[in-house]
């Protein structure tokens, strides 16, 4: 099936070349970072994780979201999703690869990365995170590839694939739980030290991931000319809506706990993110309010059935949702976690240009991987007449 990668329209090649260019820019910038260290980033002694780890966190969610297609299809026999499951699985592969790259570029000593496996440390959540990410990548690659191959030859997938799929459902929940456990078990980081963090992560993942998937499918279906299926879109948007409601609800639970308890340490991060400090408003405050407006806006457009089923409005609603969840997790979460320093001072952070260029390069790698995988899937499905 790999040969499908090589046969495409000029536009397809131009797209890949464009992504290749971005990857090149990111890679060259990364060489500078290797030489001059993480001093090229905006991180500091008090803000030791920044844009990279935030993107990693967000993208684990995107990866995990494939389960929102797999679960209804395989646990409840919902057939409408079967056609698009492969796109979710292949998007998960791209997302996991981006996650891994974001971890690597965040390391001070990437050449020693294998120490995590050479000296396995079972009390460190990072060890488990590495394991579950590698496992999830393998699961999705094997399941995706095998089911697509079977579709191509028009045979029923072997039984063992089914067991792998069941495993992948549980695995998807676990990858994002483990990611949340990275931060939610740290004493002294008030914004993260909350039992609902993992639940918040899952809720945010299960709305943001499918929303991004649906948006991308809407774009690709125009280029490749195929139908996603009305029923599938309807059901998926309902899933997205419920997950987003839950996501916002859990966030408001955090707000209540912090402010009703009136414990300063718990109020500080939210106060910093939404109201700034005595010294003024940090840049992230503007983003947080945009995020809040986008979150409410997306729910206004998604909850009423008449609006949700309007195909002209839907892409806007989904776009707002993706932006809102990205601001919450891809910006606010890490900044809010570090903003009150261990000395109860405000620690500011803003990503630098090299940091953003490297991140852009990694996003381009993800887009590249997803592009060629989706190209294979679309071509195979078209040949088999299943699209």
């Amino acid at each position: 099936m790999l040969e499908k990668v090589l046969k495409g329209s000029p536009k397809y090649y131009m797209w890949l070349a464009f992504l290749g260019g971005l990857i090149g820019v990111g890679a060259i910038t990364y060489l500078f970072q290797l030489k001059y260290g993480l001093s090229l980033t905006g991180m500091s002694r008090n803000v030791t994780w920044g844009f990279y780890i935030a993107q990693f966190t967000y993208l684990v969610g995107i990866a995990a979201s494939a389960v929102m297609l797999v679960l209804p299809a395989y646990f409840h026999g919902y057939k409408q999703f079967k056609k698009i499951i492969i796109f979710g699985e292949f998007m998960a592969i791209g997302a996991v690869i981006m996650c891994m790259l974001f971890i690597v570029v965040d390391m001070g000593m990437p050449q020693r990365m294998l120490n995590v496996m050479l000296h396995p440390t079972f009390n460190s959540v990072m060890f488990y995170d590495m394991m579950v990410l590698i496992g999830y990548l393998c699961l999705n690659a094997i399941i995706g590839w095998k089911t697509l191959e079977c579709e191509r030859f028009q045979v029923v997938p072997p039984q063992w694939v089914k067991y792998l799929i069941y495993t992948s459902v549980i695995w998807a929940f676990s990858i994002h739980t483990v990611t949340a456990f990275l931060s939610q078990g740290l004493p002294g980081r008030h914004y993260w030290l909350t039992a609902v963090l993992a639940a918040r992560f899952l809720a945010s993942a299960f709305c943001a991931g499918p929303a991004l998937l649906l948006l991308l499918l809407m774009i690709v279906k125009r280029i490749a000319k195929f139908e996603i299926g009305k029923e599938a879109i309807k059901t998926l948007t309902i899933i997205i809506t419920y997950a987003m409601c839950l996501n916002v609800f859990l966030f408001l639970c955090e707000v209540f706990t912090s402010f009703y308890s009136n414990i300063p340490g718990h109020m500080h991060p939210l106060h910093y993110l939404f109201a700034g400090t005595e010294q003024g408003l940090p840049w992230v405050t503007y983003w947080m309010w945009i995020g809040a407006v986008m979150a409410i806006g997306s729910l206004v457009l998604l909850i009423p059935t008449s609006l949700r089923e309007n195909m002209k409005i839907l892409p806007w609603a989904l776009g707002m949702l993706v932006l809102a969840t990205w601001i919450d997790k891809g910006l606010g979460l890490i900044i809010g976690g570090f903003a009150p320093s261990p000395f109860e001072t405000w620690a500011s952070y803003a990503p630098t240009v090299p940091e953003l260029l490297i991140s852009l390069g990694i996003f381009a790698v993800g887009a590249f991987v997803v592009s060629i995988l989706w190209k294979i899937a679309i071509d195979v499905k078209k040949e088999a007449g299943t699209l």
Binding site: G37, L38, D106, R112, G265, E344
Partner: protein
């Protein structure tokens, strides 16, 4: 075509399995062969079950008092002088409200509030940094000291997110150009690793007290917390002391006489 691919996969998977088995077997023999380390302890080495520090904050009145200790540490451990937000520090001073963040009262004694206080790694009994480190580059010694292997650290900075005391520094840049005079008795660090106070474990092993304790000339005390007869225990019994953020349960080993 299909047959040959299948054959290839068979051979390939068998090779991988064989290689894995060999590695596993190698690991086991290695473990079996593990013997006690062959190094000899220095006869002078100072020993304790639980090293702890008691800082008499009443005695630190001038800038010179603090600088003597800070400079002694900086020289002993080749700590670079990097200005700004990416600085490296093992021991430093700060105001009361930044040191004892959860023990601040309004209308407190002006004298106590205006005093400055040392901060350094607390060498906790339940160190979160050891718990989170994915490579055991940070680990606890039998003497209670939280030590680091700079050659194993991958620079993930998980320990820095985990430490509630802000005791750790990261080498955002190559530290060597920022060291005025290199002390050949202690290794310099490389770019991309975390570092922190080590309670002068290298000096204890040679029978000497930590550099800051020595430089403090009696204003900082150091000893075995598990020994009821030790000087630090006596000081704790006789004086009112504070520790930083005790509610987090990490059990810091640095005490402050107020």
């Amino acid at each position: 075509m299909k047959r040959s691919r299948r054959q290839f996969l068979k051979v390939a998977s068998l090779s991988v399995a064989g290689l894995g088995a060999q590695l596993a077997a190698g690991g086991m023999t290695k473990a079996a062969a593990a013997v006690k380390p062959s190094y000899k302890e220095d006869a002078l080495a100072l020993k304790a079950k639980r090293w702890a520090m008691v800082i008499d904050t009443r005695e630190f009145t001038s800038k010179e008092d603090f600088d003597a200790c800070i400079n002694a540490c900086n020289t002993a451990h080749n700590i670079p002088h990097i200005p700004g937000k990416t600085e490296i520090k093992w021991i430093w001073k700060d105001a009361y409200e930044h040191t004892f963040t959860d023990t601040t009262n309004k209308y407190q004694s002006k004298e106590i509030e205006d005093r400055e206080y040392f901060m350094l790694c607390n060498h906790c009994e339940n160190p979160p940094c050891v718990r989170v480190c994915p490579t055991q580059a940070t680990y606890k010694l039998e003497s209670g000291i939280v030590a680091m292997d700079y050659h194993r650290c991958i620079g993930c900075r998980f320990c820095m997110a985990g430490c509630p005391f802000g005791a750790r520094s990261f080498n955002f840049t190559d530290p060597r150009p920022y060291i005025k005079e290199v002390n050949p008795k202690f290794p310099t660090r490389m770019i991309g690793v975390v570092e922190k106070c080590n309670f002068c474990v290298e000096r204890l092993d040679a029978g000497k007290l930590p550099a800051c304790v020595e430089a403090a000339q009696g204003k900082i005390h150091f000893g075995d917390l598990s020994d009821p007869e030790s000087e630090v225990r006596k000081l704790l019994e006789e004086n009112f002391t504070l520790r930083r953020k005790p509610s987090l349960g990490t059990e810091p080993g640095v005490f402050y006489i107020i």
